[in-house]
Symmetry: C2
Amino acid sequence: MKMVQLQQVHAKAFVMTALPSDLAVGAWASLIRVQQSLLDKVEADLAAAALPPLVWYDVLLELRRAGPEPLRHRDLHARMLLAKHNLSRLLERMEAAGLIERQPCKDDARGADISLTAKGAATQRKMWPVYGRAIQAHFADKLTEAELSSLVRIFAKLK
Amino acid sequence: MKMVQLQQVHAKAFVMTALPSDLAVGAWASLIRVQQSLLDKVEADLAAAALPPLVWYDVLLELRRAGPEPLRHRDLHARMLLAKHNLSRLLERMEAAGLIERQPCKDDARGADISLTAKGAATQRKMWPVYGRAIQAHFADKLTEAELSSLVRIFAKLK
DNA sequence: TAAGATTGACGTTTCAATCTTG
DNA sequence: CAAGATTGAAACGTCAATCTTA
């Protein structure tokens, strides 16, 4: 019964409002730790294959899923798994690497249209096997289908 | 049945090794998204209370849990929830803020002993109510005890 | 005025190189 | 040489200010 404790060692007798139970704190701590560890492993697998980081895949995939039409900066931002504050800077680097292109938006002169280059699409295709295998090896292989379903259901309540 | 898909839209017929199922990919995506969102919310609550970021709490708590004796740099690193590569820099900032002290280690002249100052201990005590309430509000309140237990059990398999 | 996006300034993280001691 | 920790340089992220257009 060794529970991870994030709270202070000697708890106060009175607190102003509800503090989490040991169970909740343990679950929280394991969530943080596991996600960190998984992300690290996946990033390491990508780096070992001399591929760009996960956040680049995030951009490439969303552009690919959007089909032939370019995606607006703001739409891309909304869809990304690892949404970053400064998407402009990230896109700048990816454009410099020749993976995407930015053009002024026709409909809305404020907007920026982001589109995938052939090289960007190729990079996305090269990354998926490595990324996917990493998800399988470090995550899916260790859980049953029922457990994966549980995670989906539980996480849906946390949105 | 709208599943999040991280893989390319048109799957190849043959792949070199196992790629994750749609279920696994969906669970993976929700894990990433939920953890990011939760961390953001907690950090926002701390910032709103004019308190230091979570990683500082991480340091302060581990030092507090270690009791009166100082903790070695490497031991602190190993215990932290949000382990960072460059702990030296983080400790440098925290020392500048007067929350911790660094001294050469007696036993091992290579080592650094990290200890909590009174101000550091006080900061840890001020942070916990905000941190704890954030865990409760954004995480624990939305789940049942059974679900929290499930998470703990499932995450234990991913270590 | 608000929305969309970029930029500058600043702080932080990372990686490798380094220094020291076991 | 390996382990423990720090440092420099560069990459990256963040926040607020800015610019442009709806």
